[in-house]
Each structure stands twice: as C-alpha cells, then as structure tokens.
Amino acid sequence: MDYFRVIWTVARKDLLIEMRTRERVAAMGSFVVLVGVLFNYSIDTAIVRPQEIAPGIIWMTIIFGGLLGMGRTFHLEEEDGAFSGVLQTPIPLDALYLGKTAANLVILSLVTVLIFIVFSVFFGLSFGSHPFVLLTVVFLALIGFVGLSTLFSAMSVRTTMGESLLPVLVFPLLIPMVIFGVSATSRLFAGRPVSEVTGSVRMLGAFAILSVAAGALLFRYVVEE
C-alpha cells in the first residue's frame, strides 16, 4: 500500500509542476500542431491520400514529439539538487521510477489526444469503428514508449551529451512499437475487423510490460552514484 502511495506522491508532484509551468505540454503541443501544418504541405494530396499514410505519420509524431518532452523529465529534478534530496528519502527506487513513468504517461496521453484531434481536423481522418480497440493499441504503445524513454532520459541527463543521446538510445528499441502500432492503427482506420489486430495488441502488451519491468529493475543502476 505504501508502495503505491509513493508512486502516487511522485507522479502527483510531477503533474503539479507540469500544471504550474506547462513547459513540456506547451513544447510538445505546439510541435504536434506544427507537424500537422508541415505535413499538409509536405505531401501532394492530389497523389497521396492522407488517410493512407496518416497512421505512419501519427506514430512518428508521437515518437518525435514525445521524446521532446520525455527528455526533459529529469531536468526539473536537477535544479537545486532536488533529485539528490529525493534519493535520500527511504523510498524504493523502482517506485520512484514508476511514479515518474506514470506522470509522463499522463502528459504524453494528453499530447497524443491532441495529435489525433489535430490530424482528424486537418485531414478529416476517420478513426474506424472500434474506438476502444484503438485506445488500447495507443495506450499500450505509449506505456512501452514512456517506460523506455523515462529510463533513458534519467541516463542521458547524467551524461555529457544530454538529450542528444536520447534518440540514439531509444529509437532502435522502439521498432516493435512502431511496427505493431502502425499496423494496428492502419487496419483499424481502414475499418478491418478487430480479429486482425489482436496479434498486434498482444505484442504491444509484451513490449509495454518488458519496457516498464526492465525500467523498474534497472533504474537504480542509472541513478546510483
């Protein structure tokens, strides 16, 4: 019980700070809208139908925009050494990791909702007839993504290279999320039956569990000095 209270305390603190500053949501949100605008001019709608390539673009926007915000996860901890203070408290480090991951998941979910709104408004996409399946697909993929990027942003903030390291570390590991996420969303967009995406959902679930479990297990080796 105590364990979950720690997770909640950490997540709440992060969300409170984000609500006060809106730094990360603002950066990611404007990124998303502007990508929508640039995307419109980067394809010739006379040749390519947006509906056909939208799943790919949406997932790339989630990844790039998401990484933009996730990379800042530990910056708000570094001023005045607050993170050292947190490390001096008697909390389990995996709970600390899970708390920060949860806060990131909430923030990234908001941004993802915005992405879907932007793309449906700009390009008149239809999201198919299985909104809950789509939600599951996106949510599982986000859990996996946030799990990995929270761990690696804790790492990159402690290196001399900083955030520029993050894509090199995270992108190769994101292949399962991209492949199964894109495949499932394009099938759902195209109105295919749900049975065609259950395999993808299962793989995304495995990816999510793997990322978060590995992150919780290894986080302490990243923050330990």
């Binding site: 105590d2 209270r5 720690v6 305390t9 950490v10 603190k13 409170l16 700070i17 006060r20 500053t21 708000l76 001023e79 005045d80 050494g81 607050a82 050292s84 203070g85 947190v86 490390l87 001096q88 408290t89 008697p90 909390i91 389990p92 480090l93 302490r220 330990e224 000095e225």
Partner: protein, 254 residues
C-alpha cells in the same frame, strides 16, 4: 520567533547505549582510480557532534555522501549501532537527515508543498500539524503558500533546514551549511544546531569555517587529501590556537 526548535526524537532509540552510534571503518572511495576519501576511521558516540575541517578538495563532501548512504564506498564500511549500513538501506535513510549547500527543493512548488512532498516520501502521517510547526520553527510560517522560486536565498536555506529535519533524524549530516547564509538565517541555523545537541542526536558537520564548527563540536577532525590527519575531543583543543594548529596540520608541519 527563533526559539529552540521543537525537533523531537523518537524515545526508543539510543537509550544511553554504550556502543558508538556512528562508526566509519577504513572508508575509501575512489573516483576513476583516484581516492577522494582515503581510509577514514572514526567513532562517534550517540548525542555527540563531530566537526570535520579541511581545505577544499579534501574529500569532506564525498565522506559525507558516503555517510549519508548516497555513495557506495570502494572499501570499508559505515556502521550504525554496530550494524553495517549499505547504499540503498532504507531504514538508514529514515534515520538520517542531510543539510547541504544545495536545498534539494523544487522551485516550482510552494513552501508547504515541498515539505508535504518530502514528508510523504518519508511516510510521515501527521503532516497537517508537523508542517506548520516546522515552518514556524524556521520563521517561514507566513510564507507557506509562496512558490519557492520567489523566496530569498536565506529563506530558502531555512526551508532546506526544515526539510532536512522534517522526519526527526537521529543522525544529522551537514555539508557546509553556513555557505551563503544571511545573518538571520545563520542565527536560526545556530539555534537549530544548538537544539540538535539534546544528547540524543548524532551530528557530523563538515565545513572549512573553523569558528562556527568549533563552537558546537564535541569532537574535531581535520581531513586532508582524503585522510583524517588528526582527530580528538573538542576539550583537548584550545580555540585560540586552533587556527594555527589547523594550518600546521594542513601544511604537514605538525
């Protein structure tokens, strides 16, 4: 306003135990093969204050971080009541408080939110009473809703002090606590330190400021190049000649 702070200690611990409370045995910490702390031994009885003096780069902060359980020693061990403590020992963290020149505060949260956050991480249940009480003790009771960023440096230091002592630690570790304090904050710190000397709290104070450290210390150590060059009881030291002696030790003339 700044009377003795009401920092209570749990009564069950340290019932006049004859064993040394805090002990370091052959502590060594190397960074990239270079020893920052190089074989430190000491014993500190419960309720006593050890002041560690030393020039910059003597490894004082590293020593303190090892004692605080934030850094794993390359060799040697830290013992509390005769039991070895390890990095990640959560019971150990519950019993220590660290005051550093950094405040460990979130600039975007309010004064009260900071204390409440840390209080929850320490698993304290009486935060509704405890937080205002502690804020009053450091003279910040009317600033509890201010965002920390808007506070002056002195106020932030006082808040940092309240944060470090929020959970009534039995072992208090202070790393250059006087750095950058204004006169008011320094006075409060002195009062708080004096109130910590209630005979049941063990304190290690690391500083290069001889006067302030010597005032309160029971034991005095001088650390040079990672090692304790000298350690003795405070009453064996003459305050008036200590500065000259310190310089002799640092420059290896003693």
């Amino acid at each position: 306003m700044s009377g003795p702070a009401p920092f209570a200690v749990r009564e069950t611990d340290f019932s006049g135990s004859p064993t040394p409370t805090l002990e370091a045995r052959g502590l060594v910490r190397e960074f990239a093969g270079f020893p920052a702390v190089d074989g430190v031994d000491f014993q500190l009885d419960a309720g006593r204050l050890l002041a560690v003096f030393g020039p910059n780069g003597a490894g004082k902060t590293t020593l303190l971080r090892i004692l605080a359980g934030g850094l794993r020693p390359t060799r040697g061990q830290v013992l509390l009541d005769g039991n070895t403590v390890d990095v990640g020992d959560r019971e150990w963290r519950r019993r220590i408080g660290v005051v550093s020149h950094q405040g460990f505060l979130y600039g975007r949260l309010t004064v009260a939110e900071n204390l409440e956050f840390y209080g929850r991480l320490f698993g304290l249940s009486d935060l509704a009473e405890r937080v205002p009480e502690r804020l009053a003790a450091v003279g910040l009771e009317d600033r509890s809703r201010s965002v920390v960023r808007t506070l002056s440096r002195g106020m932030r230091q006082r808040l940092a002090l309240a944060r470090a002592l929020l959970h009534d630690p039995e072992v208090v570790l202070l790393d250059e606590p006087y750095t950058g304090l204004d006169a008011h904050a320094a006075a409060i710190l002195r009062d708080v330190l004096a109130s910590l000397k209630d005979g049941r709290r063990t304190v290690v104070l690391v500083t290069h400021n001889l006067g302030q450290g010597l005032e309160l210390a029971d034991r005095v150590a001088i650390q040079v190049a990672g090692r304790f060059r000298w350690i003795d009881d405070r009453d064996r030291v003459e305050a008036s000649t200590f500065e000259a002696f310190y310089r002799d030790v640092v420059e290896e003339r003693a």
